[in-house]
Each structure stands twice: as C-alpha cells, then as structure tokens.
C-alpha cells in the first residue's frame, strides 16, 4: 500500500511543477469581471494545449500526450495546489472529443478535434431532456431526414453546461419512433449558431443560471452531421457516458468539500465546538468526507492498474452530496440565520446541493444499477422492453389522463 508517486510519476510531477513555476502568472486572475472570464479561460486552455497539458490522455495523433489518468490527476493536483484553473472545456476534451475519436468519421476527427483542444471551439453535451433524464433513451428530440440527405431537428434539451458560449454540441435525437426506444436514436453534431437554436439560462435555487435549456426549432443539419451511424446513437451515447464516469472518477476528492472547511466554521464558535451534539454530527460527516478522499485514492490505484472503475464508483457521489448537505446544515444550525445570507458560502452549498443530487442520473437509478451490476441482484420488471417508442408514449398519455 503506497500513496506516493512512482519515480516516473514523481518526474512528471516535477515537470508540471516546473512549468507552473514559470507560467502560473499567465493564468486568469480570480474575480475577473464576468464578461472577461470565458475569454481569459479560453486563452489559458490554448496555452495549456501548447504546453501539452490540456489533453494528456488523448492519443498523440490528435494532439494529446498519450498518457494515462494518473498523469491527468497529477496535473489536477498541481494546478489546484498552485491555485490556477485547468482547461475551460472539460466536457469537450474529457468526454465529447473521445467519443468523436471512437465513433466519428476521419473528416470529423480532423475538422473538430484540433479547435476543441485549443478552445477555439468549445463544445456542449445535448443529451438530457425534461422527460428523459435518468431514462436517457427516452429522448424525444426528433430529427427527420430530408430528401436531399440533410436533417431537420426539433425538440428541447436541458441541463446543458456551457451552451451559451459553445460552438458545437453533440446531440442525441430520435430518428425512428417506430422501433423500441434504444434502437431509434442517432447522434449528431450541431452548430450552436444554426438558425432555430435558442439558448436560455436555467436558474437554480440560488438564482444563478448554472445550466441552460436549449430549444431546436426545425434546425437544418448537414447530411454528414451524424456520428456513429443512423440508429446507432445509443451505443455512441454509452461511450460518452463511460468517459463521463472516468472524468468524474478522476476528479473526485469530494468536490472540494473538505471536512476542515466545515470544522473551521464551527471552530469560530467556541460554544459550539464544545457541544457534544455538534461534535457528533461533525464527527459523522467528517468521517464520511474523509472516506471519500481515500475512496478517490483507491480509484486512482485502480485506474493506474488499468481497470475502468465500475458503477460502484458512483457511491462516492451519493456520500459526498449527503455529507455536504448535512455539514452545511450543521454549520447553519450553529451560525444561525445569518449563514443563510445569499452570498454566504454555506447558503450557496445549501442551495446548490439539492440540484446536484440528481445530476448525472438520480440516486435511485444509481442504486438500481449498482444493485444489479455489482451485487448481481435481479432487475426490476421492465415494462418498456421491445415496445415501439411511439406506443410507449401513447400508453403514458393514456395512463395520465
């Protein structure tokens, strides 16, 4: 058991540190005016791409370094220690680029990957819909092929991060409603500036618009906009989701909810720090958050030995969200209503976490998946198997009415 770097890793870490010592000052400053943030982070990603630090796990042929997830983590740790941000387009570089590498045509690879890597074109992921969240294969956004081979797309996507400054989106649409739901899907590349695309910020509990809704009104797509073949969209989407799990997996350590952060707030009230009830609660959430830190290190060990983390890695998210909710509740119980000021860091956690709970699929679906795939428990009866999507929808409408 060893938490330390191998000699090769230590050497790599030294190189990253060396680069940072020289260039950290070029990173975007904190507290930039809102309109300057994205341009500054674009420029910074470009700088990182030039230095070979933007997409270390990409193959060299696409401009990456052909390295492993551990090197990615080392970069994350060193950047975090140096207090500088990483790349702007984590979604594109971490998930969508690799999907295009796996399923895209040679033209798509040569056209899109370079500008993505250098943040000349930022990407967004257009999968979830209001009625297709955990049940992603239920997407209703509809693309119909025209006689000239082009497509017409209509529908709505939601929870789209970065849509407002993205050049392209990778979009999952239904191209055939008369076959079972997993079979009638196709993946598309959509230019976000196309006519008929409308982007609207989606405000969260806190009032901030952390996500977007994107509406498509008869948007024209080129015949070669499909990725991975017509009707094969579900398989393409699974690739993206696998990379999503990897991206999240290697970026854990509890989303930055270190137990010390909450302990500090409590220590500020000496009365509370000596209250056994407060200490019991702090001790419980503290243990949970510490365990996540080491669950993260265990995951890295797995990655390093070449295995892809299983669905049980998702348990860390459940733990983190629950513990951070409880920790923020505790701090607010101690500090009183003043900790609920909208600009307070704990009020922000309180507002932010309820939404995070179902991000990337609800906890219920995650527990189903882990119960079935990890523990080998039998699945729920499925009422939607083998039934054409159009009939499923008709049944739903009937059941509600």
């Amino acid at each position: 058991m060893d938490l330390n770097d191998t000699p090769e890793q230590a050497a790599y870490r030294e190189r990253v540190r060396g680069w940072l010592a020289e260039h950290a000052s070029e990173a975007p400053r904190e507290n930039l005016p809102e309109e300057e943030v994205v341009p500054a982070r674009r420029a910074w990603q470009r700088r990182l791409a030039e230095a070979g630090l933007a997409a270390v796990t990409w193959p060299k042929e696409f401009g990456g370094q052909g390295l492993g997830p551990i090197e990615q983590v080392i970069i994350g740790q060193e950047f975090s220690d140096a207090g500088v941000p990483g790349i702007l387009d984590v979604i594109g570089v971490g998930m969508l680029g690799p999907t295009i590498m796996a399923h895209g045509s040679d033209e798509q690879k040569s056209r899109y990957l370079g500008p993505m890597l250098h943040a000349d074109e930022v990407w967004c992921q257009l999968f979830s819909e209001p009625a297709a969240g955990s049940d992603l294969a239920a997407v209703q956004a509809r693309a119909r092929q025209q006689d000239d081979g082009s497509w017409r797309l209509s529908g709505q996507k939601v929870w789209t991060t970065n849509a407002q400054f993205s050049a392209y989106g990778l979009l999952l649409a239904r191209t055939d409603a008369d076959v079972p739901k997993h079979k009638g899907l196709t993946m598309f590349i959509v230019p976000m500036d196309a006519e008929g695309v409308t982007i609207r910020g989606l405000r969260q509990i806190s009032g901030e618009a952390e996500f977007n809704e994107v509406f498509f009104d008869d948007v024209r797509l080129d015949p070669d906009a499909t990725v991975g073949g017509v009707g094969a969209g579900w398989g393409t989407a699974l690739t993206t989701l696998m990379f999503e799990r990897l991206t999240i997996g290697s970026g854990v350590e509890g989303l930055g909810y270190r137990p010390e952060r909450f302990a500090e707030a409590i220590a500020s009230d000496p009365h509370a720090a000596h209250d056994r009830e407060v200490r019991r609660r702090l001790g419980e959430v503290g243990s949970e958050l510490l365990s996540i830190r080491f669950a993260g290190y265990r995951l890295l060990s797995q990655l390093q030995s070449g295995s892809i983390p299983g669905p049980e890695a998702g348990l860390a998210k459940i733990t983190t969200v629950a513990a951070a909710i409880e920790a923020a509740d505790l701090v607010t119980d101690v500090l009183g209503p003043d900790a609920l000021s909208e600009d307070d860091q704990f009020a922000y956690i309180t507002s932010f976490l309820p939404g995070l709970k179902s991000a990337g699929g609800t906890e219920e679906i995650l527990r189903n998946t882990i119960g079935e795939r990890v523990l080998g428990l039998p699945p729920e009866p499925r009422l939607d198997k083998g039934i054409p999507f159009s009939e499923l929808r008709a049944r739903e409408r009937e059941a509600i009415s």
């Binding site: 049940d135 009032g207 119980d333 101690v334 500090l335 009183g336 209503p337 309820p354 729920e380 049944r395």
Partner: protein, 369 residues
Amino acid sequence: MNLELSDEQEFLRDAARDALGRVKTVDAAREALEDPAQRPDLWPTACEAGWAGLLVGEEGGGAGLGAFDAMLVAMEAGRVLAGVELLGHLPASALLDAGQYGGLSAVAEGTRRAALLAARPPGGLDGDAWTVEPRSGSRRADAPRAEGDRVSGTVTWVPDAPGADVLVVVTGDGTALAVDAGQEGVSVEPVMRYDATRSLGHVTLDAVHGETLQVTPEQVSHAWYLAQVLLAAEAVGTVERCLTDAVAYAKERFTFGRAIGSYQAVKHALVEVLRRRENAYSLLVYAGWSYEDRRDEFPLAASAARSSAGRALDFATRELISVHGGIGATWEHDAPLFFRRAQLSRRLLGGAGEATDRVAGELLARVAA
C-alpha cells in the same frame, strides 16, 4: 373522547383556506426574493377574518378561541407560504390579554399589531435566566433588562417586528412589558434571509418606556411555547402541500415505462412524508389539548410538536425537490420556495434543535420529580 375537528373548527379552517387562496402567495414568495416589495400585505385579511383577536378573550374584544384553533389558521398559512404576521402577534396578544393590557381591544381588532420579542424561558443546560437569540453563533444572548419602567436591550430575528405597534418585551428575570413601538429609542431593522415570506427584524430598545404586565412566569413562558406550536403548525401545513404536490407529480411523471410513483424508492419516501406528517399532526393535537386541559404539559407538547414538525418539514421539502429530479431545483419551480421556508424556519426561535433538547429536558425533569 373526540379529537376530530368540530364543525366550528372546520369552518375556521375552510374560511382561512379560502381567504388566503385569493392571493397568489407562492408566486409572491418567489418574486419577493428579488424585490421584497412584492411581499403581499395579508394583515388586512387577518383582521377581517378575526384572526388578530383569536387568542384574546371575549371580554377583551377577541374571539376567545384556543391554541389549536390558532394552529389551524397557521397550517393554512403554511400550506401556501402566506406571510401573515400571526407568529409575532398571536403569542404577544395572549400575554397582553393575560396582563390586562390597556390597549387590548385595538390589538384584538388588529388595528394595533403586536409582536413578541422572542425571549427563551430558562431551561436546558444554560442557567436559569431568560435569553434571546444571538445575531449569529450558538451562544445565547442576554434578554433585555428593565430599570423601573425603562427597558433596554437588543433582540434579533424577531418575527413580525417590522411594522408592529406594540412590542411585548421579556426581560432576563421573566418580567413582561408592553412597549409602544412608535416611541423614540425603539429601532427596528427589517431583515430578510433566504425565505422572503417571513418578516423578521432586529430590535434595539434604548431606555424606552414599557408598561409592566401583571402576568405569571408560567404565562410568560407559555407565550414562547405558543410561538413554537405556531411554527410547528405552519410546518405541518407546508408538509401537507409538499406531499400533495409530490404525489401528483409521481403519478404523472414516467420513466422506463412506468409512473415514478410505482417505484418503491419514490413510494416509500412519500409514505415517509405522510408518516412524519401524521406524527407531527398528532403532536399538534397534544399541544392543543394540553394548552386547554393540562397546562403543565404544554411545554413538553409544544417542544415535541416543534421538533417533530421541523424534522418533517426538512424531510418533505427535500423530498419534493428530489421527486422532481433536477427540475425541482430550479428557480421557476415552487419546490425551492418550500425548501427556503424550511431552511429559515429551522433556525428561528431557538431552532428546531433547541426544541428537541427541551423535550429531553422536560422528560428528564418529569422522571426526576
């Protein structure tokens, strides 16, 4: 034995639901987060419905109803997040009635609105003086002090203080005084935190004149517990609303070919909301009964009701968001408004945690005696 609602109580409840239903209070709760001026003034509604004098005896110009009747109104207010100033006014009015306050009839009519400068009765582990909520942090603060008929001190997070005409002040030794809020030396700073439906104020008194009320220490402490049961009743109303909304959505939202309410994870969680609602409501009944018939158990019953209802509210508002998935955590949805209500209420008037501690204190005192 009959714990069902009487015809009069059903009428009171239905009338409250009707009166409050005329204003879009839930939408207003959202708008007021960005512009506090959007908070509707429901005091005229309260006066018209006779709620202002609900706990004032008939001789004092009130309706002479019981604590449970007040809870019925509070439940309706909680159901629609109506910011009626009853949490401050009703407990204060009960104390003004008991102390035969001169201006009682105006208080009962509601032409003069009252607020209780929420002082906590002694108890628990922190000595035997009355204390008040600190501005922040968990240590308790000293209650105001009186010298002769002059009273000074600061009380923070006072429900319904902004705009109140009569402030009922409790001092560190448990004396209650009625203070005219209009006089010089009284300063009320309105504060809004997270839930825009609730009117709160930090009140500072600088040697202001007060009229000492002739009340027993028990009457003073029961005013605090009245505020506790009103918070509890509001919470139960909100829980019921959350349950209704969550059940409706669970029936119409489909995933994997089934309504989500057919999945045990959702179904059992909603039954858990119901279970908590049932328990909290049973304790409201206990509190209402003890207020009338077994006054020595009122502190226990009121604390248990606050504790139970507070936990139910926390659970129900989180569950309402959770059932809705991501959409339940967006600004335009109602769920976050109920959630905000839960978050703030949990930390007011000693906090739900202190109420739980008082339940233990009462039980331990009972077996020691």
